[in-house]
């Protein structure tokens, strides 16, 4: 799933969902729910919360499929974004995550060796990976922990043993450096 070739299929399904085609909606679910649940679970680290986020996301996709357009990125990333925001909202409204320091350190390690080393097919994804590699270690850690774990600035400060103000500026400068790199 999620290779470049399937984006056309997802686009077709999404268009059908916008016309309230329930079968297409179910097929869409079969296609992307694994990817979505994986992402939500990685963020939330809680099954029930991840399940709720996936449900909410699909309910939203059903209602808002017609609002999708290609400036919002590929269909898959649009739908993943919906699920990700929902997960972040749920996490924050519940404040439900374990926040002990050891776990943070594990995750930092995890990110550095994990997803970025996977081979990536699309050029755009490669560009992102390349640009993330160009960031300083602390900028990269801050951004990846925020993205994958939904850490707040305060949580980042604990995880990276640094003052909140410092962590904030790592995130901000990292993001701006990332943008300059992506625009090159």
């Amino acid at each position: 799933m999620a290779s470049e070739t399937s984006q056309d299929e997802l686009m077709g399904l999404l268009l059908a969902v916008a016309r309230k085609d329930r079968q297409a909606f179910q097929r869409l679910y079969e296609q992307i729910s694994g990817r979505m649940y994986g992402l939500c679970l990685k963020l939330a680290k809680q099954q029930d919360l991840a399940e709720e986020a996936v449900q909410d996301a699909f309910v939203q996709i059903w209602h808002h499929a017609s609002e999708y357009h290609n400036e919002r990125g590929a269909p898959l990333s649009w739908m993943m974004t919906i699920a990700r925001y929902r997960t972040l909202d749920l996490m924050r409204s519940r404040k439900a995550r374990a926040t002990d320091g050891d776990e943070h350190l594990d995750k930092t390690e995890d990110h550095r060796e994990g997803p970025l080393d996977n081979s990536l097919r699309s050029a755009s994804a490669k560009a992102l990976t390349g640009c993330i590699e160009e960031l300083s270690d602390v900028q990269r850690d801050s951004i990846l922990l925020s993205y994958y774990r939904g850490f707040t600035h305060d949580e980042l400060a604990v995880a990276l043993s640094s003052p909140v103000g410092t962590v904030k500026s790592w995130v901000r400068r990292g993001l701006m450096a990332l943008k300059r790199c992506l625009e090159r």
């Binding site: 399940e51 449900q55 309910v59 919002r72 990125g73 990333s77 970025l116 951004i143 995130v171 901000r172």
Partner: protein, 231 residues
């Protein structure tokens, strides 16, 4: 705060990353509604950072997730499907509907009038995507009663009744009787049901044949599950 290009650029990035939070996040969402420029900046980041999401391993969600989506989008269809398999009732299904119900619960609690001093438990039976609660629930310690006041509840389909249940922390649900729609339904709790409700604080409503479940356990689909709160 002024929408300078630099600020839009940074806030959009932080919004998508998730590090923009609370009031600042809500304020930025307003900016998005007001300005195409802001939305485009957000979409840029959603697309770029979206690739990070694609690098996570897939994991199939439990089958109950799809059933929950169906139950929320098409309650009638989900009810029929559950009717077909009334004999082998799937207990874990309850928690799902509960999720849907819990979503809007917080909002409704805030809108409730100030409770009288003896009311201990409170909540609402709600339907996802509906603005009004179906029933408002209040439990009174003083007269050991539980009251469900219909707000937006409609009558059960022909040949069916709504039955109210306490969902205990462990074990089978305990019936609190068939609820007529239209009037406030009040039930007096005995020691057993009081203890069960005090510990689980969870109610459910199922669709049953007229007169209630013939077996003493829910046979029809669970339409709603609600968690009550102590006041």
């Amino acid at each position: 705060m002024k929408k300078t290009p630099e600020r839009i650029e940074l806030l959009a990035a932080e919004y998508v990353l998730g590090s923009l939070q609370g009031l600042a996040r809500r304020r930025f969402e307003r900016w998005m509604m007001e300005s195409a420029r802001v939305r485009e900046e957000v979409w840029f980041w959603e697309e770029k950072l979206g690739h990070l999401g694609n690098q996570v391993d897939d994991k199939a969600p439990p089958a109950s997730v799809w059933r929950g989506i169906e139950a929320r989008l098409w309650p009638a269809k989900a009810a029929n499907a559950a009717n077909d398999s009334a004999g082998n009732w799937l207990w874990p299904g309850w928690s799902l509907v509960a999720t849907a119900a819990a979503l809007v619960l917080a909002v409704i609690l805030v809108q409730q009038p100030v409770p009288t001093p003896d009311e201990r438990l409170s909540g609402a039976i709600v339907q996802a995507d509906a603005t009004d609660p179906l029933w408002l629930v209040s439990g009174s310690e003083l007269d050991r009663s539980l009251k469900l006041r219909p707000v937006a509840a409609t009558a059960a389909q022909a040949g069916k009744d709504y039955e109210l249940w306490i969902v205990p922390q462990d074990g089978q649900p305990v019936s609190l009787g068939v609820m007529p729609v239209g009037d406030t339904y009040q039930v007096t709790l005995d020691d057993n049901t009081r203890a069960l409700l005090a510990s689980s604080r969870t109610l459910a409503i199922s669709l049953e044949p007229v007169g209630g479940s013939p077996t003493g356990a829910p046979t029809g689909p669970i339409l709603h599950v609600a968690k009550l709160y102590e006041l």
